[in-house]
């Protein structure tokens, strides 16, 4: 359950919209079902009061939307940022992807978002209504009613939440949190400890499910190139391969590599994947390696920091030394 309610956010958005501070509001809009909340741009008080929602399904990170929206907007855009979103926000500012002057950022606390797939696993198919409160109450079309503790159905990224601290905002609603010592690299370490064949089988199983829908790329706040290497129809790697699986592996290695050092570990890629591939494990592998090879680095922790892959020292680790010192 979220500590901050929809009503507080709506009141805030409407008052800022009416006094002219902002010209539009980037927020979460009710979807067809209670659980498919989508990002939307609200331009009037009526729209906000009708459709604005804030509950356990508002996982969407708005930072990336600012890149395109700030170009068109005539005034400021009001954006609500959860703690993990502020890291992506900072990272995009570092890369000069949008104009900070055109954004009015409100930091809001987050208690972790719910994973609809975990709810489905408990409640089964045919979910007709979900109410988020003390407990998540799920009704199905078959007349079943389930009460689920929100802690049991958190998104993976929220179980291993890295920070409840907002690193950038104009105004903060609620209390400021702290950076958390998370166990987010445990799963990567578990994979690293597997035998090569087990690990190959694991990734073969995961990545061969990829349907190349590009949702992970489209949602990623670090993937903001105007032209993407995977959009080139002549590249021969822009689509699902009919033959075997290496093309999916290549896509995911390159996707993760292109955001290495800039990935804030917001976990959006895994959240949106329709095939439930744990893509964050690839990103976290790079983060873990960067931390161990080049010193601890959290992308987006401060504006203007230099990402590890656009930086170097003269005595960096040699590629041949990568596997030394692991006891192998």
């Amino acid at each position: 359950m979220q500590k901050i309610t929809r009503d507080i956010l709506v009141e805030k958005a409407v008052s800022l919209l009416e006094n002219g501070t902002v010209c539009c509001v980037l927020g979460w809009k009710k979807g067809e079902f209670d659980y498919d909340v989508t990002p939307a741009l609200f331009e009037s008080k009526e729209e906000i009061e009708k459709d604005f929602v804030y509950d356990d399904f508002c996982g969407a990170n708005f930072s990336k939307y600012l890149v395109k929206k700030t170009i068109k907007a005539e005034g400021k855009i009001l954006v609500f940022l959860k703690p993990c979103d502020t890291y992506s926000f900072n990272q995009l500012l570092t890369e000069h992807r949008f104009d900070r002057e055109k954004v009015y950022a409100i930091g809001i606390p987050c208690e972790g978002m719910a994973d609809i797939n975990k709810i489905r696993a408990i409640a089964g198919d045919g979910i007709s209504e979900i109410k988020c409160g003390e407990k998540i109450v799920v009704d199905t079309i078959y007349g079943d009613k389930h009460e689920i503790d929100a802690k049991d159905v958190l998104l993976e990224r929220c179980i291993n939440c890295k920070s409840k601290k907002h690193v950038n905002y104009d105004e903060l609603l609620g209390d400021e949190g702290e950076v958390i010592e998370s166990n987010r690299f445990d799963e990567v370490a578990r994979l690293e400890a597997m035998t090569p064949d087990e690990r190959f089988a694991f990734w073969q199983n995961e990545l061969s499910r990829c349907i190349r829908c590009n949702a992970c790329r489209d949602v990623c706040p670090a993937c903001t190139c105007e032209k993407c290497v995977f959009d080139n129809p002549k590249s021969g790697v822009e689509n699902k391969a009919p033959a075997n699986e290496f093309e999916e592996k290549m896509f995911h290695i390159i996707r993760a590599f292109h955001v290495a050092g800039r990935c804030t570990d917001c976990g959006e890629c895994s959240r949106v994947c329709p095939q439930h591939i744990p893509l964050h494990l690839l990103n976290r592998k790079f983060i873990k390696d960067i931390d161990s090879f080049y010193g601890e680095y959290q992308a987006g922790a401060e504006v203007g920091s230099r990402a590890p892959l656009v930086n170097y020292t003269t005595n960096d680790l040699e590629p041949s030394e990568v596997f030394e010192g692991r006891g192998e």
Partner: protein, 144 residues
């Protein structure tokens, strides 16, 4: 039926300013290195995009080696420092996805090191040959 002898296909990305000249020197000195090494000349080792490496594997290479100037000697001042970081991360990731780590290598070879070039290629070709054919990465569509 005649069984074809297995020979590894190796792609070597060589920096124009050092390793490519190093390969020339190896040739001038009549040093032997395997003919299965296909050299691709690049303006700097940091021109090599991780996608080049993966595409080489996809199209049937059994091993990929990058040769560049020694750190500190880059023609463009700092290119090979970036290569070093990128490839360290890429190779670690390939190992994570379980591509044999002996199939990839970065070696610093200057224009004066013809002997090192030949020795490196001999050694690399031997290690890759020991691993055998690259089954995990190749793409059936690219098979001839």
């Amino acid at each position: 039926m005649q069984v074809k002898e297995y020979k590894p296909l190796i792609v070597a990305f060589c920096c124009n300013w050092c390793s490519y000249a190093g390969a020339d020197l190896a040739g001038n000195n009549r040093l032997n290195y395997p003919a299965d090494v296909k050299i691709i000349r690049v303006p700097c080792s940091c021109r090599v995009n991780p996608m080049f490496v993966l595409r080489a594997f996809q199209r049937g290479a059994d091993g990929v080696i990058l040769c560049g100037c020694h750190p500190g000697d880059c023609h463009y001042t700092s290119g090979n420092y970036y290569t070093r970081r990128r490839m360290a991360l890429l190779f670690s990731m390939l190992d994570y996805l379980c591509i044999e780590r002996e199939r990839t290598r970065v070696e610093w070879v200057s224009a004066a090191e013809g002997a090192k070039f030949a020795a490196t290629m001999n050694d690399f070709a031997e290690k890759v040959a020991a691993l055998g054919e690259n089954k995990r990465l190749e793409d059936l569509r690219c098979k001839k």
